[in-house]
């Protein structure tokens, strides 16, 4: 009996230790003196050089035997610069890429699947960041920074038409109801602008899908896509969405090339954090409009598509384990996000690049230090349980083929003009997209 009891105890201990063993399965870091080479873009932007130096210093302080060397590459010719380095066998150990699928095809990227499975910190990433970034079932990239879609609420227009601002915990139905209420096309004021529903609806409705319904394995042109493209056509044709012609812009705004959202003509404009500074200064001064920044309305899938910059670890690196650690400390890891936010604050700049992890402390740090115009946005991210879905086009296998087919056949335009039914063309598009995926996967398998 005693023997059985002791065996049961050992078994229980082993079972309880199993998750720990799996999570802590990463091999230890080297104690040798090594140098890792790192490259990322954005160094011409205010605050980014300081953030880079702060992140390197933080990493080197935590890992005194690892020296980090930054490799400057011109952002305008990024691919050419990397290709030149590759041809000389000089790729950095860790670097950002515009197209992960191209990097994989070029045999630049190390398979990171095992790191994701074994590193407990990777559990902090929004789950779709990992699941929808698979190529042939493997993860070759890591998400570096996030640019969420935001709704720029023109408070002045809400006041003008006596409409109350909604709660930040709003839905797409609320958004379209408000859009209709706020649209006054006869005065050239519109409810919405930048109708990116084709990008946004698959995540909002299905939760784990990016544009064209990519879920990490296949493309889906399902009801979410049909609803998105039809809604787009509807709001434009009903003049709820700003779609002014050059003639109208010239007549109303005095310039055929004017941008109506920047002239205060839209109540709810979808844009990204990098435009906030312009709205807070130039647009506000020119139009006298006040803006408040909202999260995207919530769909039943609770997913929100966000623009994500991606990085990879070079297949040629001699220190893959240390390179993974560097990637984490420089970009996606919670400590990297906190350091980035702290550095921006110390410089007096707004945080334009947001974290790719759901770690509450990281988002709480943003809430605690935000001004009133954006506090609601951060609070909503924290409280609504949003799942950020990464912009999938840099990763999706065969993306180029479906994008070229979609654009060259002017699918959105034809549906907008009523020349094509979305439901009729969906199956064909899905077939083209998945054929492109198959072609790509076959090409990298060769």
């Amino acid at each position: 009996m005693k023997k059985l009891l002791s065996m049961l105890l050992i078994l229980a201990l082993a079972m309880s230790a199993m998750p720990f063993a799996l999570a802590e399965g990463l091999e230890p870091l080297t104690t040798d003196e090594i140098t890792l080479r790192y490259a990322c873009w954005g160094q011409a932007e205010a605050g980014e050089p300081e953030v880079l130096q702060a992140l390197i210093a933080q990493f080197e302080e935590a890992h005194p035997n690892i020296h980090v060397e930054f490799v400057p590459i011109d952002q305008g010719t990024w691919d050419a610069g990397l290709t030149n380095l590759a041809s000389q066998g000089q790729l950095p150990d860790v670097f950002w890429v515009f197209s992960v699928s191209a990097a994989v095809s070029n045999e630049w990227a190390l398979d990171l699947t095992e790191f994701y499975e074994k590193d407990p910190d990777a559990q902090e990433l929004y789950p779709t960041m990992v699941s929808s970034s698979k190529i042939g079932g493997k993860n070759y990239s890591y998400p570096a920074v996030l640019f969420p879609h935001m709704v720029f609420m023109n408070k002045t227009l809400f006041d003008k038409y006596n409409v109350d601002l909604p709660s930040t915990d709003w839905t797409w139905d609320d958004y379209f109801d408000l859009a209709e209420e706020l649209s006054h096309p006869e005065e050239f004021y519109f409810g919405v602008s930048n109708p990116l529903y084709v990008d946004l609806f698959p995540a909002a409705i299905n939760g784990n899908q990016g544009k064209f319904g990519w879920d990490g394995e296949a493309y889906h042109f399902d009801d979410a896509w049909v609803e998105a493209v039809e809604t787009r056509a509807e709001v434009i044709n009903n003049k709820i969405c700003e779609w002014m012609s050059a003639e109208d812009k010239e007549a109303v705004l005095g310039d055929p090339g004017a941008w109506p959202p920047g002239k205060g003509r839209t109540a709810m404009h979808i844009d990204w954090p990098w435009t906030m500074a312009m709205f807070n200064t130039t647009v506000k001064e020119e139009t006298g409009c006040e803006f408040v920044y909202y999260p995207l309305p919530m769909g039943e899938g609770k997913g929100e598509l966000a623009i994500v910059d991606n990085g990879i670890i070079a297949a040629s690196t001699e220190h893959p384990r240390e390179a993974w650690e560097l990637a984490k400390w420089m970009s996606w890891g919670p400590m990297a996000a906190l350091k980035r936010q702290e550095t921006y604050r110390s410089l007096g700049y707004p945080v334009s690049r947001m974290p790719v992890v759901s770690t509450p402390e990281v988002w709480q740090d943003l809430v605690d230090n935000a001004d009133d115009t954006i506090k609601g946005f951060y609070e909503a991210v924290l409280t609504r349980g949003v799942n950020f879905v990464p912009s999938n086009w840099p990763v999706c296998p065969g993306w180029g083929e479906i994008e070229a087919y979609y654009n060259s056949n002017d699918i959105d335009g034809k549906i907008l003009r009523g020349e094509l039914s979305a439901a009729d063309v969906a199956a064909e598009l899905e077939e083209v997209a998945n054929r492109g995926r198959d072609n790509y996967l076959a090409s990298i398998a060769e």
């Binding site: 041809s87 066998g89 197209s99 070029n106 790509y440």
Partner: protein, 318 residues
């Protein structure tokens, strides 16, 4: 042993070759080698991997891919040539008109010449792109009066699109006319004024003089301008075919890589060669033909009179 000495001609030739040498070295290093290399690439699958360059021979697969599977390149190529034909015609005619105007003795001729040539010097690729983005290359009236809409309604899309493209970038096209204007002017200045005076005496007006004297005289310039303009349009930084080739070099995930990009470059070059041949055949100077002109009554009368006088002088002398 007798020392071999070079003759004067040989020494002069050698000097010539020495002057040519830097260009020849440059040609071999920066043109001939990449040319051959790009042809080899076009027959290969090329990858710049993390471990260096990987190449495997694939025959004409890259070319077959371009024509059988690629959804972008052939479309871009067709669009380019449609637009190029229209632009070529506009540039050749516009620059000839301006050159003829500048060839007259007008005040401030030098200033006008400078103005028309200035865009060539000032407007580089990125500046042009910026101007285009700002809408500076379009004619506002065309947008305001819905000319584009009328064209789209009246013509099939295959013709309406390049025509609208031409109108929306009309100012840009006119900016490209700087060099052709200079070339035309060089040709116009070589025409002997006395030919026009003779034509004037014979009763020819300006219209007839243009068709019978000016145009035949500057035909070699039309050929040069045609070739120059097509090459200029084809190699412009704003050319979408060139941009596509550039982007495909690095993007191996969508029918790309150096192999396919090189095949694209070769197809583009060969189609350009055909285009240049067509321009040559259409605009090459024709051989001058001797035209038998029937004599007027006046000429016959004068000739008879001369003959009679000559005969009378002969008779008197005898």
């Amino acid at each position: 042993m007798k020392k071999k000495r070079f003759g004067l001609v040989a020494r002069r030739e050698m000097k010539g070759y020495i002057f040519l040498l830097p260009w020849l070295i440059g040609f071999v290093c920066f043109f001939a080698v990449p040319l051959v290399q790009s042809f080899i690439y076009s027959l290969s699958n090329v990858k710049m991997t993390a471990a260096g360059r990987k190449m495997s021979y694939v025959g004409f697969d890259n070319f077959k891919y371009l024509f059988n599977e690629d959804t972008v390149f052939t479309g871009l190529l067709t669009d380019f040539y449609r637009e190029a034909i229209l632009r070529l015609a506009v540039i050749l005619v516009f620059s000839l008109v301006i050159a003829m105007m500048l060839n007259h003795n007008i005040k401030g001729k030098g200033v006008y010449r400078t103005i028309f040539f200035l865009p060539i010097i000032v407007v580089s690729g990125p500046v042009l792109q910026r101007l285009m983005d700002e809408g500076a290359t379009t004619v506002p009236l065309i947008e305001s009066y819905g000319v584009s809409g009328i064209i789209s309604e009246l013509l099939p899309a295959s013709l309406a699109n390049p025509l609208n493209g031409l109108f929306t970038q009309l100012i840009l096209v006119l900016w490209y006319s700087g060099v052709p204007i200079l070339i035309y002017m060089a040709g116009l200045q070589k025409i002997d004024r006395s030919v026009y005076e003779a034509a004037l005496i014979d009763g020819a007006g300006g219209w007839v003089a243009f068709w019978k004297i000016t145009l035949p005289a500057i035909q070699p310039m039309i050929l040069i301008n045609g070739i120059y303009t097509l090459v200029f349009l084809a190699t412009s930084g704003l050319n979408s075919v060139i941009s596509e080739i550039n982007s495909r070099m690095f993007n191996t995930s969508f029918g790309g890589g150096y192999g396919v990009a090189s095949a694209m470059a070769w197809v583009y070059t060969l189609t350009l060669a055909v285009g240049l041949l067509v321009i040559y055949l259409v605009t090459k100077p024709r051989k001058a033909t001797v035209v038998e002109v029937s004599k007027t009554r006046e000429q016959i009368r004068v000739e008879r009179l001369h003959a009679q006088r000559a005969a009378a002088r002969k008779g008197g002398a005898a």
